[in-house]
């Protein structure tokens, strides 16, 4: 049984197809809580009977995700400090917990950026952190593109393989998403912990 919200998204997806898929992927990656992963899986499932083109679905979702992530990163990079300064939080960004967080992002952005692509709730926050930390795009871009490519390929293939049986596969998709998110959080936590240990042993040298 599907909820009325799910039914609404499905109807809109059938009506507006690729532009809606791109918009949802973009908004989800940028910051808004929209069902972007669900629409990717559904469009892929509907491409199994030829209504959507599978490669076009994957390409559209990938383009939307990369565009949304990059927009979030660029906005934070360009206006982030100005925004926080304006509301009196500028000093907090340079010291204390946020300062350490930005130091970590500057020191080791790769795994954090890559693994956060699977966590749609955390992904926008990591883009903002990368922007605030002024990570150069040549360091941000490759991890961003690689992470999004794996994410889109995985969920679109699951959707395509399920095809008409997508309703019976909802539990599998939910558990798969949760498992990937938890592994991502686990990997980043291990990295943060090791970084913290090294830093407090005095073996850590901050980036200039």
């Amino acid at each position: 049984m599907i909820t009325s919200f799910t039914a609404f998204i499905l109807s809109e997806l059938l009506l507006y197809q690729y532009p809606l898929l791109f918009t949802l992927a973009f908004l989800g990656a940028f910051a808004f809580p929209v069902p972007s992963t669900f629409s990717l899986v559904m469009a892929s499932a509907l491409s199994a009977n030829g209504y959507f083109d599978f490669y076009l679905v994957a390409g559209t979702a990938l383009a939307g995700n990369i565009a949304g992530d990059t927009a979030g990163y660029l906005v934070a990079r360009r206006f982030g400090i100005i925004f926080f300064d304006r509301f009196g939080f500028g000093r907090k960004l340079a010291h204390g917990f946020f300062g350490s967080l930005l130091d970590f992002v500057r020191a080791r952005p790769g795994l954090l950026i890559f693994s956060s692509r699977f966590m749609t709730e955390i992904n926008p926050a990591v883009n903002v952190l990368a922007g605030l930390a002024h990570i150069p795009y040549r360091r941000y871009g490759p991890f961003e593109i690689a992470g999004e490519t794996v994410y889109v390929a995985l969920f679109s293939l699951v959707g395509y393989a399920l095809g008409d049986a997508w309703q019976s596969g909802q539990a599998f998709i939910s558990w798969l998403g949760l498992c990937l998110s938890l592994f991502g959080v686990f990997a980043v936590s291990v990295q943060v912990f090791l970084w913290w240990l090294r830093r407090h042993r005095g073996g850590y040298h901050e980036n200039p």
């Binding site: 049986a165 938890l182 686990f186």
Partner: protein, 138 residues
């Protein structure tokens, strides 16, 4: 002292995250096995899957799978119906057809979704019977 506590706390949190990820992975695998048993998830290359679907090895959609969120364009595509067939048979007046949902068409016709779906399924089955009869007639 505080640092030691933080270190232990960090290790506990990381271990819990690792265990949670493994548990979620085990549940995902269980669901995967369940789908494989039910023949819902077919592993293989994209080409293989596409070939299976095109060759008809996977059964054609049945009319019971039609739900109100579907559009007429989608139903026409899935069941291989000519674009004007349902428009004519169900006397749809909404100009948005075929980019119109079944739920919307039912509301336009002042009918319950279930009753409208019944009419739609009958129309598709009739088309299939006629189509089959015309293709077998010499």
């Amino acid at each position: 002292m505080k640092r030691t506590y933080l270190r232990i706390l960090g290790m506990i949190i990381i271990s819990m995250l690792g265990v949670s990820a493994l548990v979620a992975g085990a549940f995902a695998l269980r669901q995967y096995a369940h789908l494989r048993e039910g023949d819902a998830l077919r592993p293989g290359s994209l080409r293989e899957l596409r070939h299976l679907r095109q060759s008809g090895s996977i059964p054609r959609a049945d009319t019971g799978s039609i739900t109100p969120w579907m559009t007429f364009a989608y139903v026409n595509h899935v069941f291989g119906l000519p674009e004007g067939y349902l428009h004519e048979t169900l006397a749809i007046k909404n100009s948005a057809y075929p980019r119109l949902t079944i739920a919307r068409a039912a509301a336009d016709a002042h009918m319950s979704e279930a009753a409208y779906l019944g009419q739609l399924r009958t129309a598709i089955n009739t088309f299939r019977t006629q189509d089959h009869a015309s293709s077998t007639t010499p």
